[in-house]
């Protein structure tokens, strides 16, 4: 019986050590995973936001910027405008899958489900009760 005591002590010691190690490392590992996920999401958000900002202030033609076309889209929207928007978005997002939405509706979309990069910008919206609109760019 006495011979088993060292073994018992050794096993209890190792189990205690492993429990403490797992108890400390596991929460930190979970926290790290959480931070990595957050940072990845925020990086994509900033990237999409900057892409949207650059897109909005890029020239539409020699008189207007994209900002004007989207903020007064009822007045400017045409098939030609849609084609130009599509071309520009392909250039800025380096993707063939994107959409522009606001809080309630889809403004421009390709025939695909973009959901990976999401960035939002507030634009001035004349002749609208709210006077300001949140534009959201989503692309793959």
């Amino acid at each position: 019986m006495k011979a088993f005591l060292p073994f018992t002590l050794a096993i209890v010691g190792i189990i205690t050590t492993i429990t403490i190690v797992v108890g400390i490392i596991l929460p930190i590992a979970v926290l790290k995973y959480h931070l990595v996920t957050t940072i990845e999401y925020e990086y994509k958000y900033d990237n999409a936001q900057l892409t949207l900002l650059n897109f909005l202030f890029s020239p539409y033609d020699d008189k207007h910027l994209m900002y004007r076309i989207l903020s007064e889209r009822e007045a400017f929207y045409s098939n030609e405008a849609q084609t130009k928007i599509e071309e520009k978005l392909k250039l800025f997002t380096l993707s063939n899958c994107f959409k522009i939405v606001n809080e309630t509706s889809v403004i421009f979309t390709e025939k695909c489900e973009a959901k990976n990069n999401v960035g939002e910008i507030y634009i001035f919206r004349p002749y609208d009760k709210g006077l300001i609109e949140e534009l959201i760019l989503v692309f793959e």
């Binding site: 011979a3 060292p6 073994f7 002590l9 050794a10 096993i11 010691g13 190792i14 050590t17 492993i18 190690v21 400390i24 490392i25 930190i28 590992a29 926290l31 790290k32 931070l35 990595v36 957050t38 940072i39 925020e42 990086y43 958000y45 900033d46 936001q49 900057l50 900002l53 909005l56 202030f57 008189k63 207007h64 910027l65 900002y67 004007r68 903020s71 910008i121 507030y122 634009i123 001035f124 004349p126 002749y127 709210g130 006077l131 300001i132 949140e134």
Partner: protein, 167 residues
């Protein structure tokens, strides 16, 4: 001596485990500090972009305020206006509505300022100037900052149409 064998093994094993844990913890902690700083930086970049969009949108809001003031005065062109001071007042009222909406929706404060309208043979110049700055305050448990931007803007209106060459 024979009985000490397993205890010695257990001690060495426990020591090795603690050493490995120490190294892993060290790497984790330093990486986490870096990650946390990056997250805060990204929060800052996002706020800068947000303020930048509002700042760059000001010429459009100013142009709309001007057009809307003409419409409310019942004219299509500035040639139909006899009192420029009255027009400036009306542009200010409409522009102030926009300022309020921006603050309500985005927490970005566009300061109150003065609107001036000048006419020349080449067109109309509408300017907004303020001695204060556009500001956006962000506050969380780990980060507080204020972003400030110059709100002053001048637009050119030629043939009743905004000249969109601001940058």
């Amino acid at each position: 001596m024979k009985g000490l064998g397993p205890i010695a093994v257990a001690l060495v094993a426990a020591f090795a485990i603690i050493m490995i844990e120490g190294i892993i913890l060290n790497v984790f902690v330093f990486k986490m500090i870096g990650f946390k700083e990056s997250t805060l930086e990204e929060e800052y970049i996002s706020a800068v972009n947000k303020v930048e969009a509002i700042k760059r949108g000001l010429p459009y809001a100013l142009y709309y305020s001007y057009k809307e003031a003409l419409k409310r005065a019942g004219v299509n062109d500035i040639s139909g206006i006899s009192d420029l001071g009255e027009l400036e007042k009306n542009v200010t009222i409409i522009f102030n509505e926009y300022r309020k909406k921006v603050e309500e929706k985005t927490n970005i404060v566009i300061p109150a300022g003065k609107i001036e309208i000048k006419t020349s043979s080449s067109g109309v110049e509408v300017s907004f100037s303020s001695s204060s700055l556009i500001s956006y305050s962000y506050s969380s448990s780990s980060l507080n900052f204020v972003i400030k931007e110059n709100p002053n803007v001048t637009i050119q209106i030629v043939n009743n149409e905004l000249t969109e060459k601001f940058y």
